[in-house]
C-alpha cells in the first residue's frame, strides 16, 4: 500500500518568467485565493513545494519555481538533475504582456532542453497568461501567433506541447488546469465507466464529477440532447461558479475557505433540475436532470447509494475488474512513466497491478 501511494506521486513543475503569474494561479486553483487577493503575494524565492492530495490516490507534487533569472540559472546548472528528473508535467507560463517575448522563449527552450535530457517522457503544457489584458477581439489571433512561435522553440516536445490562453479573472484558468489534471488522473476511464452507468440509472441529462477542494472537473458524462447544449464551456464555468460560491460562503461564515463546503445545492426550475452533492471524500457530483420531482428524488437516493462504489474507486489501488478488464492489460506498475505522447486520452497504461 505504501509503495503504491508513493508511485502515484506526480511531479509537476510550474515555471515561467518572474511575475508571469505562476504563484497567483497556484494560489487560486489550490489554495482558495480569490483573483483579487493575489496581489498580496510576494515573489517566490527558489522553489516552493506543495503536495496536493487529489482524487484519493493521486498526489500532486507541485514545484512552484521562482522565475527570477538567478534562480532559473541555478535550476539549469547546479540543480539540473534534481529539478528536472522524473517530471510528469511541466507547466510553463508566458505573460502575454511581456516586453521581452523573444527572451522569454529563449529561456523556455533552455528549460525544455533540460527537461528532455532528464525526463523525456514528461508532458508540456504552455499557458499564455494574463489574456484579460488584451482586448477581446485581438485575443484569439495574438494567442495563435504566440503559440506557433513557442511551438517552433519546443524541440522534442514540438508535437505534443499543448497551449491554453488563461486569465485568473475568468474560467479559462479552470479550463487549462482541468486538462492538465485529467492527464494526470490515473484511473479516469474507470471513473468514467461507472459514471456512465450511474447516468443511465438515474436518467440524468448530465453528470459532472468535480474534485472537492479545487473544484476542477475530473470527468463528465453527457446524455442525449444535452450534447447540443450551446454552452460548451459549461464545465469550467461551473468550476468557477462553485469556487466563487465557496469563497463567498467562507467570507460570510468566517470559516476557512478550505472547509466551507456545502452538503448539497439544489436548483429547480421549470426547464431543468440541478443538484450538486458530495460523492466521495474528494469529489462532488453535479447532476442535471429533467424537470421532474420524482426523477429528482430518485436520483438523489441513487446517488447516495452509489457512494461506496465510487469511494472504492477513488482510493483503491486495485482496479475493479468489472469495469476495467478491458484496459488493465499490464501488471507493470511503472508503466505510467512510459507514456509520452498521451494526449490525455490514452490512460490505459496507467493501471496499477
Amino acid at each position: 500500500m505504501n509503495t503504491s501511494k508513493r508511485q502515484k506521486q506526480r511531479k509537476v513543475l510550474l515555471m515561467g518568467k518572474s511575475g508571469a503569474g505562476k504563484s497567483s494561479m497556484r494560489s487560486i486553483v489550490f489554495s482558495n485565493y480569490v483573483a483579487k487577493d493575489v496581489r498580496r503575494l510576494g515573489a517566490t524565492i527558489d522553489v516552493e513545494h506543495s503536495n496536493i492530495k487529489f482524487m484519493g490516490n493521486l498526489m500532486l507534487n507541485l514545484w512552484d519555481c521562482g522565475g527570477q533569472d538567478g534562480f532559473v540559472e541555478n535550476y539549469l546548472t547546479h540543480q539540473r538533475a534534481h529539478v528536472f528528473s522524473s517530471v510528469a508535467v511541466l507547466i510553463f507560463v508566458f505573460d502575454i504582456e511581456s516586453r521581452e517575448f523573444a527572451a522569454d522563449v529563449i529561456s523556455y527552450s533552455a528549460i525544455i532542453r533540460a527537461l528532455s535530457e532528464n525526463s523525456p517522457t514528461a508532458a508540456v503544457f504552455v499557458l499564455i497568461h494574463k489574456m484579460d489584458l488584451v482586448q477581446s477581439r485581438l485575443r484569439q489571433q495574438l494567442f495563435e501567433e504566440r503559440a506557433e512561435y513557442i511551438r517552433q522553440a519546443s524541440e522534442g516536445f514540438r508535437d505534443t506541447v499543448e497551449f491554453f490562453p488563461t486569465s485568473i479573472w475568468d474560467q479559462s484558468l479552470y479550463k487549462a488546469w482541468t486538462q492538465i489534471i485529467y492527464y494526470l488522473i490515473p484511473n479516469a476511464r474507470g471513473i468514467e465507466g461507472l459514471l456512465r452507468e450511474l447516468a443511465e440509472v438515474v436518467d440524468a441529462r448530465e453528470l459532472i464529477l468535480y474534485e472537492r477542494t479545487t473544484c476542477l472537473m475530473v470527468t463528465h458524462v453527457t446524455r442525449g440532447a444535452e450534447g447540443q447544449n450551446p454552452f460548451t464551456d459549461r464545465f469550467e464555468r461551473i468550476s468557477s461558479i462553485l469556487k466563487t460560491h465557496k469563497q463567498s460562503m467562507a467570507k460570510h461564515t468566517g470559516i476557512p475557505a478550505g472547509s466551507a463546503n456545502f452538503a448539497e445545492m439544489q436548483i429547480k426550475t421549470g426547464r431543468f433540475m440541478f443538484f450538486i452533492t458530495r460523492l466521495t471524500e474528494n469529489t462532488n457530483l453535479a447532476a442535471s436532470i429533467p424537470p421532474s420531482e420524482q426523477v429528482f428524488n430518485a436520483a438523489r437516493v441513487n446517488i447516495a447509494l452509489v457512494r461506496p462504489k465510487f469511494a472504492e474507486l477513488d482510493i483503491a489501488s486495485k482496479p475493479r475488474p468489472a469495469v476495467q478488464q478491458a484496459f488493465a492489460h499490464s501488471a507493470d506498475s511503472e508503466r505510467w512513466e512510459g507514456h509520452v505522447e498521451g494526449k490525455g486520452k490514452e490512460r490505459e497504461k496507467e493501471w496499477e497491478a
Partner: protein, 359 residues
C-alpha cells in the same frame, strides 16, 4: 393584508416629506417612472457604474469604456420601470441652452459621483452649485453622493476622505443657508458589492410600497425563523426590501453571490431544448417558479433558500440555525403566502407581465 389598505395610495401630507416616504418628490404621483441621474466630474466613474450595475459588465472591463460625450438615456424594465441618465462630466448642467426643466422634471434621484482618489474640491464645488440651483425649483430631490473608487484607498484614509467630503458639502450648504439638505453619502466601488448596496438604498427611497414590503418580510422571518430575508431584483441584484433586522453587508454579499450562482447555472442548463417527444405528460411536474436551496456541510451553519417570486423578483433567505431543512415544506407554504401577498402589493407588476408576455 387588510391591515394596510392604504399601501398603494400616495401620501398627501401638506408638509413635503423628506426621507423614506417613497413618494417621488417631483413627479406626478403613481406614474412610477423615476429617473436616476448620474452626474459628476469627468472620469469619476459614472459610465462604469452604470455599465457594471445595469449591464453586468465585469469591473475589469470598464477600463476600456470610452468617454461619454452626450447624455445616455437608458430605460430599465424591472419590477418598476426607471430610467438611468448618464451625463458627460464636462457639461454645465445649468447652461441656458439646456432644457433644465425637462431634465429635472421627473427625477427620482440625483446621483453625484465623486472620485475619492482624485482631487475632489472642484467636484464638491460643482455639486453644491447644482444642489443650490435645484433647491429653488425642485426642493425635494434626493441627492445621493457616491464617494467612489474607495477600493484603492487604505482603511484609514478611506474613512478620513469620506468624512472630509461630508463635512465640506454640508458646511458649504449651510453657509448658503441650506440646513439639513436631503443629501446622503455612500462609499462605493465597482470592485465589490458596495455599489449595489448603495443603489439598493437609493432605489428603496423611490418605492412607495417599502413599508408594506418590510412588514411582510418581518412577518415571514418571524414565522419561519429566518435570520435575514431579502427581496432582490434579479436582473440588477439591487435589493428592493429587506426585513427590518440590522443589515450587515456580509449577508447582502452572500445573497447576491447566491443569485449569481443560480442565474449562471440556470443559464447553462436552461437553454431551449428541442421538444422531446413523449415527455409532454411530464411537463406538469416541473416547478413554475425556480427555487433553490443550499445546505452546508457543517452542522450549525446556516443554509440559503431562494425562491423566484415573479419575473423580476426573487426572495432570498438566510435561514437561522433552528430551521433545519426538514421543515422546508412549511417554509415553502409560507413563502407561497408571502408571494400571494406581494401580488396584491404590486398588482401593476403582475398586470404588466400578462400584458408583456405575448410580445
Amino acid at each position: 393584508m387588510e391591515d394596510l389598505p392604504d399601501a398603494e395610495v400616495p401620501h398627501t401630507d401638506p408638509v413635503p416629506p423628506r426621507f423614506h416616504t417613497g413618494r417621488l418628490p417631483n413627479s406626478k404621483a403613481g406614474d412610477g417612472k423615476p429617473r436616476l441621474l448620474l452626474m459628476g466630474q469627468r472620469r469619476s466613474g459614472k459610465s462604469s457604474i452604470s455599465s457594471v450595475v445595469f449591464h453586468k459588465l465585469p469591473p475589469s472591463e470598464t477600463l476600456y469604456l470610452e468617454t461619454t460625450t452626450r447624455i445616455k438615456k437608458e430605460s430599465m424594465h424591472s419590477f418598476m420601470d426607471f430610467q438611468v441618465w448618464d451625463f458627460p462630466g464636462h457639461l454645465d448642467y445649468f447652461d441656458p441652452a439646456f432644457d433644465v426643466d425637462n431634465i429635472f422634471e421627473e427625477i427620482g434621484a440625483l446621483i453625484w459621483v465623486i472620485d475619492a482618489q482624485d482631487e475632489y474640491l472642484e467636484a464638491i464645488m460643482r455639486l453644491n452649485t447644482t444642489i443650490l440651483n435645484l433647491q429653488h425649483s425642485y426642493p425635494n430631490i434626493n441627492v445621493e453622493v457616491f464617494v467612489h473608487k474607495v477600493d484603492g484607498l487604505s482603511e484609514d484614509y478611506k474613512g478620513d476622505t469620506f468624512r472630509d467630503i461630508i463635512q465640506r458639502v454640508q458646511d458649504e450648504l449651510s453657509d448658503h443657508g441650506y440646513e439639513n439638505a436631503p443629501v446622503s453619502f455612500y462609499q462605493t466601488s465597482i470592485y465589490d458589492h458596495s455599489i449595489f448596496e448603495a443603489f439598493s438604498k437609493v432605489i428603496q427611497k423611490l418605492i412607495p410600497q417599502l413599508p408594506t414590503l418590510e412588514a411582510l418580510l418581518n412577518s415571514l422571518c418571524s414565522t419561519c425563523h429566518i435570520e435575514k430575508a431579502y427581496l432582490f431584483d434579479i436582473m440588477s441584484k439591487i435589493y428592493i426590501a429587506t426585513d427590518t433586522s440590522p443589515t450587515d453587508i456580509g449577508s447582502y454579499e452572500i445573497c447576491s453571490d447566491y443569485i449569481d450562482v443560480v442565474i449562471d447555472v440556470s443559464e447553462i442548463y436552461g437553454w431551449d431544448r428541442p421538444s422531446e417527444n413523449g415527455d409532454a405528460d411530464l411537463q406538469e411536474t416541473g416547478n413554475n417558479d425556480a427555487e433553490s436551496l443550499i445546505t452546508m456541510e457543517r452542522k450549525g451553519n446556516n443554509y440559503l433558500y431562494l425562491r423566484e417570486i415573479n419575473k423580476y423578483l426573487a426572495l432570498i433567505c438566510l435561514m437561522g440555525d433552528d430551521s433545519p431543512s426538514e421543515k422546508k415544506a412549511v417554509i415553502d407554504y409560507n413563502v407561497g403566502v408571502f408571494q400571494a401577498a406581494l401580488k396584491q402589493v404590486f398588482p401593476r407588476a403582475e398586470r404588466d407581465i400578462v400584458v408583456q408576455s405575448p410580445s
